[in-house]
Symmetry: C2
Subunit: 124 residues, 2 copies
């Protein structure tokens, strides 16, 4: 199935959960439009649509922290995608492996930074 | 942090990724409004907002397949929540443990059904 059945929202987007295949860590959630999904399937690395910049972007294009696609799934409503990846470096622009480094049920705990974001992410 | 910093979308909703804590399996994605988040935090089981029914619902209220909250996180943009749970039974109304049982990168594979959905989910 090539993505033709995916139900996009009113903005033409579908949320994509990105999970590290090896550790099972949920890394991030980002949005794909049909073009980003096609590019992800064709290139084998993750592409998303930035709602703020209104443009496609390849994860890791600036930082080198690319996500190599291992498996892709969609859910029973066909309105969410799950992508299992091999994460190079850190998924988060803040330098942590996962973007989900802040506790919602307790005082904030900072996850360990794998990289210095100032060194990895250049100014756009 | 009690959820006051969460950034809700134009519909007052935030996507919540639900992950089984023990296995690491991503079970489903659903949406919370502020009330659903508060009820989840207060009751220790997951509550969501149904966009189609326009009402709050407790996961497992009908099926008994409740999700007991273990840990909650939010991401670097504060616009997505990750809830790690202990899943009772099956998360999916189709009877599979996870709602992500369909491959997007290959011919459709059906995940094993843990329960018969016709027996567990009654008509509303």
């Amino acid at each position: 199935m090539n993505g033709a059945n995916i139900k996009y929202d009113e903005h033409g987007l579908v949320p994509a959960i990105i999970q590290d295949e090896t550790s099972g860590t949920v890394l991030m959630l980002a949005y794909m439009n049909a073009e980003a999904l096609t590019k992800t399937q064709e290139t084998g690395v993750t592409w998303f649509y930035s709602r703020s910049r209104r443009s496609l972007w390849q994860k890791g294009e600036t930082s080198g922290h690319v996500q190599t696609v291992k498996e892709m799934y969609y859910d029973c409503d066909a309105d969410t995608i799950l992508v299992k990846v091999n994460q190079t470096g850190a998924a988060c622009h803040e330098g942590t492996f996962s973007c989900f480094s802040r506790r919602l049920d307790a005082d904030a705990e900072q996850a360990e930074k794998l990289v210095d974001p100032d060194k990895v992410y250049k100014e756009p």
